[in-house]
Amino acid sequence: MTTVPSSLLLFALTTACAEDEVDRSDAEAGSSSLEETEQELQVRLKELETIVSRLGTLIEKNERALKNAQSESEVTQASYAAALEKNEKLHEELRDAEVELASLQATLRAAEEELGDLKADKQTLLALLDSSSQEFFGKLEQLEDQVKQLELRLSEAGFPVSLRFSHRVGDEELVRGQQYSVGDASLSVKEIRYWVSGVKLLGVSGEEFALPDSYYLVEDAPEQMTHSDYTRPARKRDVVTLLQIPTGQYQGMEFSIGVDSLYNDNLSLHAGELHVLSNMANETWMWFTSYIFSKFSGSYETEAGEKVAFSWDTGSNAMYRSVSLDFPEVLNLEESGAVQVDLNVDVLELLAPFSDGLPAVIGPQKQAEMSLLADAYTRAFTLESVSAP
């Protein structure tokens, strides 16, 4: 510190005055010590002068220091002012920056709000898009499914092939109950019924198409009584329509007379037209576990006038027979459209094995005759024509 504090200066002056008052009262009280007092005073004076000189020096120093301090202070003040000014400027800049910041923040908030709105919009749009696309794809899938199903149905349905079984007595059409001349004998047919099953179409390259569950009861039968109040009405069924045959080229067909062992061995099963209610399963045959494969009955009068009422059944797995027939020309089922296959069934073939005498009954206890009859059925079927219906 370059300045002398004023309090110190004041102390020095006050002390000097107080010592001078003490010396004066001593002179009044005793004269002997005057010289001593004078000397003492002289010493004090010199001391005071020294003090004054020192104080002067000090004051001078102080003043110098003060001056220095003042000039320094001026410099400092100037720099302070400059600093203030700078500070002011900085503050100003800060304020500007804050204003800018605030505006930026406001902008940001606005932007955020906008973004939020956009996001919400996007969400809404996405949801919309999602549901509409789901709906769209769902519909597309449904339509594709429908198309597939239609295509499948189209391919499955293909074109119907109708089998028409014309029962004949030689060259004549069979009418139930009518008399027919057979050489010198005569024949009247009461009933003919048989299962046509396991129908297959034979492709040109050796492949086979087997119709699933193909069990058809072909019959020309009179009214039949059951042993309750039920009566089965007369029924003529001679056309079997085969559906769902794949389009392709076929050279022939095959079917069986009777029921395959899988179904024949279990009377509780049912498939296609096959079940025990068709009057092709009666108690005689059911005690064997077999359907009746065929029934053929009527009367036959020999030239000698001997009349035989005959009733012939076949049944049991051993009597299952197949018939294979070639088409006159390759059948292209796509080009042909619907087709009717005309089959002749000549009942004279069924009589042929028994030229030595017709048995009245063929049935489960007549295995040999039954076997001959089952074989005869395979010869009774001939293919007449394949044509548009």
Partner: protein, 334 residues
């Protein structure tokens, strides 16, 4: 009525339940959820088209006791196959709808799930699913009309629901046979003294042990295995001529096969419950086991198709006969 897995675990313990029933039969009140073969029995025979189903067993049980299945509306399967008489009727020849005595004796029905060689005394039914149609429709038995049955079953108050529960497809008449077949398979007899002795839970007497040895020595070529039958068709020498009349009903197995070598051959019946299923043979000609054993001892009628083991008869002392009868009693469920 919830079926529980627990129920089938009680197979052995719940069987001997009703005191009126001469031997125990399954099913219990509720058929078990799963089929389990009793211990020591082979695998039961199920048709692939009709796997075990408790709902079908229940429906089959109802149909078994249903007189409306018959023509006159008064005869059910249980009329001749009476549960209280071992699912038989104890008669030499039963009488059905026509009032005419039948040609054969009503066989007892149990442990049919282990038979794969056909049913009836001559095996005419190839499986239980096909068995019902003959007795159901024959004018001398139930004289039922399948068309009529199919009609009223579908119009009935409660049957349609039960058929729907048992089968997932629309009604067809074959389901009647399938349900009855399931019920027949559920008739199980398993808890005899013999079974208990085999499991170490009972001891056979000395006479019974001697009887078992005699059965093994003289009878087991036909009455073989745990069911005491080989399920085959044999001529046991009860006749020498075989009528072809009546659709060959007296021909034996030959009625079915058409093979003359099968004439006079009849199903070997199980010896289980044999003391309770008199009379004996396909035509019920023997009233007692003693008569049956006397036939094997002294009454064999020789013939081309006679089982070779029986030629000259079986040599048995009166004590042997006593011991065999003692043993046979252990085969009856208690």
């Amino acid at each position: 009525m919830r079926r529980t897995l627990f129920s089938y675990l009680l197979w052995g313990s719940l069987c001997a339940c009703s005191p009126e029933v001469p031997f125990e039969v399954m099913p219990q009140e509720e058929p078990p959820l799963l089929w389990v073969d009793p211990p020591g029995f082979p695998e039961a025979q199920f048709e692939p088209s009709n796997p075990y189903d408790p709902a079908r067993v229940e429906l089959g049980r109802r149909l078994f006791f249903e007189p409306r299945l018959s023509g006159p509306g008064t005869i059910s399967c249980a009329t001749c196959h009476n549960p209280e008489q071992g699912f038989a009727d104890g008669l030499v020849r039963s009488v059905g709808a026509s009032g005419k005595p039948l040609a054969r004796h009503t066989p007892a029905l149990f442990n049919l799930a282990w038979v794969s060689s056909g049913f009836f005394w001559d095996g005419g039914a190839k499986n239980l699913e096909s068995l019902v149609f003959g007795p159901l429709t024959d004018p001398d038995e139930m004289a039922g009309d399948l068309l009529e049955i199919a009609a009223w079953l579908q119009e009935d108050e409660s049957y349609p629901t039960e058929f729907e529960r048992a089968f997932d497809e629309p009604f067809q008449i074959g389901q009647v046979a399938m349900a009855l077949a399931q019920y027949l398979r559920s008739l199980v007899s398993v808890n005899s003294k013999y079974d208990q002795a085999r499991q170490g839970k009972a001891a056979l007497s000395e006479a019974e042990v001697r009887g078992l040895a005699l059965v093994e020595e003289h009878c087991s070529s036909c009455h073989a295995g745990e069911q005491f039958t080989n399920h085959e068709y044999k001529n046991n020498g009860i006749a020498q001529t075989f009528s072809e009349e009546d659709d060959g009903i007296s021909l034996g197995r030959a009625r079915v096969t058409g093979d003359p070598a099968d004439r006079g051959k009849w199903r070997t019946p199980t010896l289980r419950n044999v003391t309770k299923t008199a009379p004996y043979m396909h035509d019920g000609r023997f009233a007692s086991l003693e008569e049956v054993l006397e036939h094997y001892r002294s009454g064999i009628q020789e013939g081309e198709t006679l089982a070779p083991e029986l030629r000259g008869g079986i040599s048995l002392s009166p004590e042997d006969v006593q011991d065999i009868v003692s043993f046979l009693q252990t085969l009856s469920a208690e």
